[in-house]
Amino acid sequence: MHNSGPPINGHPVSEFDLPVDEVTCQQFVELVTEYFGGVLPARTTSQIEEHLVMCDWCVTYVEQIHATIASLRELGDERPPEPPDAVLAALRARKAGGT
């Protein structure tokens, strides 16, 4: 029985209906973004959750992904530059009633 739905990472969804009862670590690292995006078939999601209960190493991997994302977010706190003078001049002309 195959799930329908859009392809994942270019693969048909049915490929993510894992034929065995467990997901491996090697499979999990390829699916982590889809897992957090909530787009995997229900059975695969359950298998991943069971795997994460038992595999501290994959939990560490998830923590590293989270840490990477959080660190990337900190990069976004950098201040943008000042608006260019020409734009400010146009804005001020507008306020003064110019074109």
Partner: protein, 220 residues
Amino acid sequence: MQPEPAVAPARTAPSEEQTLAALRAGDEGAFRDLFAHSYPMMKRVARTYVASDAVAEEVVQETWLAIVMGIDRFEGRSTLGTWMFSILTNQAKTHSGREKRALPFSCAAPSDTEEPVVHPDRFQKDDDAWPGHWATPPRPWQKPERRLLSLEARDHLKAALAKLPDRQRTIVGLRDVEGHSAEEVCDLLGLSQENQRVLLHRGRSRLRAVLEEYLDDGDV
């Protein structure tokens, strides 16, 4: 099911009506807020069309001039954001016509396609005791309550982000650096959700690997 990893939302912006009124009135404070809020995204998108950060900054500046000068011509047939973005892409395409061609997001590039996000040698082989499970597992980076990364590690991450393939850099930048939602990014770039996820997955995974190598080498 665990939720999507917490990503802080994009900074709150005023309503479209407020923004439009402010621009038309020449309200410098409101303009500065809008400029600061939009600049990172605009530069990141411009950069997908042109060959350098400097030219991308030039494109954004020209875009803003066109927006301020032309704001009275905005008729509301699209959202203000869509109108601003169309000016941005037109300006960028004018520049890119003098440089390299823009690669459409809908086409796959070799760097975006099939290779494992973690090297296969890190996992046990078929004739090992637990095929597919970690052979060389990841090591915890640090205690959760400590600051995430040192400033040096952040600089390393920033450099690694700049070196990602163009599409991955753009998606990771918009999603993880600037906090835009998947829907916003897909609308902005004309991407399917699937393509956006693939690019995000590959970019994030590559950056995790870079950080892992850096932190393991330093044994921080």
